[in-house]
């Protein structure tokens, strides 16, 4: 048996096909989900992919957050469905208040595309168990609105509860507070991050590293062993 992992396509999603490919490379079955359908097709987990849904015109993720698919997703995520938000997907998750804080324009005001060094801070979420805590990895980052902000109280709470999942190393590429690259919810089923693990899954492509594959093998193992 393998796991079925849904990938939502919003209008303006860009990395949906790549995410499906990464899921396939990890050995799971990708299932395309459409923003206008409330039906999640009984998938075992969902990825909200990167892109510029609705052009990111109001705020990144702000319009997608009100799609029909999100109604079901918000409900099921609260009930424990594993959800990974990558880049624009992370932005949707914060707009939907499944994850705390908000994403703002990069502090240098430019789009940035780079091979980013990260430290895995929490290797016990549904999506990170194939990493080890403290592991340093390189994952491509590409965004315009990647500056993670939250109030001090929320930041302290995230730190105290070990919910900062990834932190930028060497360079803070967008002005995120406390170098936060990704966070998890309390239960560890909902994870969001700005860098793109789906772009680091094949040795020849992109940066040529495969440091992103464990996201997809982590969830596969969890689902298959469940």
């Amino acid at each position: 048996m393998t796991a079925r992992i849904g990938v939502v396509t919003f209008p303006g999603s860009l990395d949906d096909r790549d995410t499906q490919r990464a899921i396939r490379l990890a050995g799971a079955e990708p299932v395309a989900l459409w923003h206008k359908d409330k039906d999640l097709k009984q998938v075992d987990a969902v990825v909200l992919p990167g892109g510029f849904s609705y052009g990111d015109y109001l705020r990144a993720g702000a319009i997608s957050r009100f799609s029909p698919v999100m109604e079901t997703l918000i409900e099921q995520a609260k009930a424990g469905l594993p959800v990974l938000g990558i880049c624009n997907g992370f932005q949707v998750l914060t707009e939907a208040h499944l994850l705390p804080g908000a994403m703002l324009g990069n502090d240098h005001l430019h789009f940035v595309c780079r091979d980013q060094k990260l430290r895995v801070e929490n290797a016990s979420t549904a999506w990170t168990s194939d990493y080890s805590e403290g592991q340093e990895i390189f994952i491509p980052l590409k965004n315009m609105d990647g500056r993670y902000v939250a109030d001090e109280y929320t930041l302290d709470k995230l730190e105290a509860e070990g919910r900062v999942a990834f932190r930028y190393l060497d360079v803070n590429p967008n002005g995120s507070l406390r170098d936060i690259a990704g966070i998890t919810n309390e239960a560890g089923n909902v994870v969001g991050l700005m860098p793109h693990p789906e772009h680091a899954t094949e040795p020849l492509i992109g940066t040529g590293r495969t440091d992103g594959l464990p996201f997809f093998t982590s969830i596969l193992k969890k689902l298959v062993n469940a």
Binding site: L58, A62, L104, L109, G175
Partner: protein, 90 residues
């Protein structure tokens, strides 16, 4: 038909790099005497029908739940026609 304007600005404690970039450019353009610049968004809504209390309340809700993200932004709602005072339009 009336116009309602929603202004959305970053909360004061949040860094506003766009405003800062404008401010930093000012001396280069020969402008002195501007001690701070903040950049935000302005939405102009054309409302069908009367802009009464109820309509304003609904627009307030719209701003709060959608046009602004109140985690990071503050907003104000104004009826435009009454707000065009002291205007030095081009």
């Amino acid at each position: 038909m009336a116009r309602v304007v929603v202004d959305v600005m970053l909360k004061p404690e949040i860094l506003d790099p766009q405003g800062q970039a404008v401010q930093r450019a000012l001396p280069r353009l020969g402008f002195e005497g501007i001690s701070d610049v903040r950049q935000g968004k302005r939405f102009e809504l054309e409302v069908d029908g009367p802009v009464d209390e109820a309509a304003l309340a609904r627009i307030h809700d719209l701003a709060e739940s959608f046009l602004a993200n109140t985690v990071i932004e503050d907003f104000t709602v104004k009826v435009e026609s009454e707000a065009v005072v002291a205007e030095a339009s081009k």
